[in-house]
Symmetry: C2
Subunit: 168 residues, 2 copies
C-alpha cells in the first residue's frame, strides 16, 4: 500500500496547511479550557513568584493574536490599544488594565475572528508574505509566509500556556 | 514581481520542511541558552510554588526528545530508562534522578543526534508516517507524518520553555 501523498503541489499545500491549523486549534482550545477553569481571582495571581499574572498573559496573548489580523492582511485589528499595556510594557507597569471580563471577551472575539478568516483563505494565500516582511526580504526568504507566522504564533501561545497552567 | 513559490511539489515540500526545522532549531537553541545560564542549584528549584523543578523538566524534555529517535525511525533510542522517571512519573516521585551534569549531557547528545538525523532525511521521508501511527490510520489521516510530529514536539518544547524561564 502506498501511503505516501502524491507529489502534487496543491495537495501538499493543503496537507501542510491542515497540519499547521490543527496545531493552532488544539492550542487555542487548550487555552480556552484552562481559562474557563480559572476564576477571575485566580487569573489575577502571579503564575510564579514575582512573574507575570494570568491577567497580563491573557492581555498579552489577546494583543498578539489581534495583531495577527493586520499582519495576515485580514483588515484592521480591533484591540490595538492593548499593545501599550500588554506588549510594550511589562506586568505591574502601573497602567490600569481593562476588567478581566472584558479581556476574556476580547480574547474569544479575536480567536473567533481569526478562525473565520482562516476558513476564507485560499490555499496559495497562506504562502504569500505576511505584512511584517518586505517584498524584497520575502523574495530572498520565501519561508517567511503567512503559514510560518501561524507556526510561530502557535509556539508563542504554547509558551505562555505552560505558564497559565500554573494558576490551576 | 511574483514572490509566490512555484507550484512544484518537491520545492513546496522543501519549503515546509525548512519552516518546521527552523522553528525546532530556534526553540532548541533558546532552551540551550537558558540551560547554560542556569546553575545546577537553580535547576533544582521549582519553576513555580509546588510545581515541577527544572531538573524534572530537563529530564522530561530529554526523554521525550530521545523517544523521537525511535518514533521517526532513526534507530534505537539511547535513554529509554528516563521514561519511568520523567514521563510516566511526576516530579517528586521519590525516585533518584541522574545527576544534573549527566542530564545536561544526555540532553545535548540527544538534540545533536536528532539534528544529524534530520540533515540525512530525504524530502519525501518527512511526509511518511511516524511510528506512533499505524499504516491503516495513516492512510485515513496523512497529516500524521514525521513533519507533523516535529511541529507537535516544537510546541511541547515551547510549553516547557515558558516554565524553565521562570528559574532565571
Amino acid at each position: 500500500m502506498n501511503t505516501r501523498p502524491t507529489n502534487n503541489g496543491s495537495e501538499q499545500k493543503e496537507l501542510f496547511i491542515k497540519m499547521v491549523l490543527m496545531a493552532w486549534d488544539i492550542h487555542v482550545d487548550r487555552t480556552n479550557k484552562i481559562l474557563a477553569e480559572l476564576t477571575d481571582e485566580q487569573l489575577a495571581a502571579e503564575t510564579s513568584g514575582g512573574k507575570n499574572t494570568g491577567i497580563y498573559l491573557l492581555g498579552h496573548l489577546t494583543a498578539v493574536h489581534d495583531r495577527m489580523i493586520s499582519l495576515l492582511g485580514f483588515g484592521e485589528r480591533r484591540f490595538a490599544g492593548l499593545d501599550s499595556l500588554f506588549v510594550s510594557s511589562p506586568d505591574k507597569s502601573g497602567f490600569t488594565f481593562p476588567p478581566v471580563t472584558e479581556l476574556r471577551k476580547y480574547w474569544n472575539e479575536t480567536n473567533t475572528s481569526l478562525s473565520e478568516y482562516f476558513t476564507q483563505m485560499g490555499t496559495d494565500e497562506w504562502f504569500d508574505r505576511h505584512n511584517a516582511v518586505s517584498d524584497q526580504d520575502f523574495a530572498a526568504e520565501p519561508h517567511r509566509n503567512k503559514l510560518n507566522l501561524l507556526i510561530n504564533r502557535t509556539n508563542h501561545l504554547s509558551y505562555h500556556l505552560g505558564q497559565l497552567i500554573y494558576l490551576k
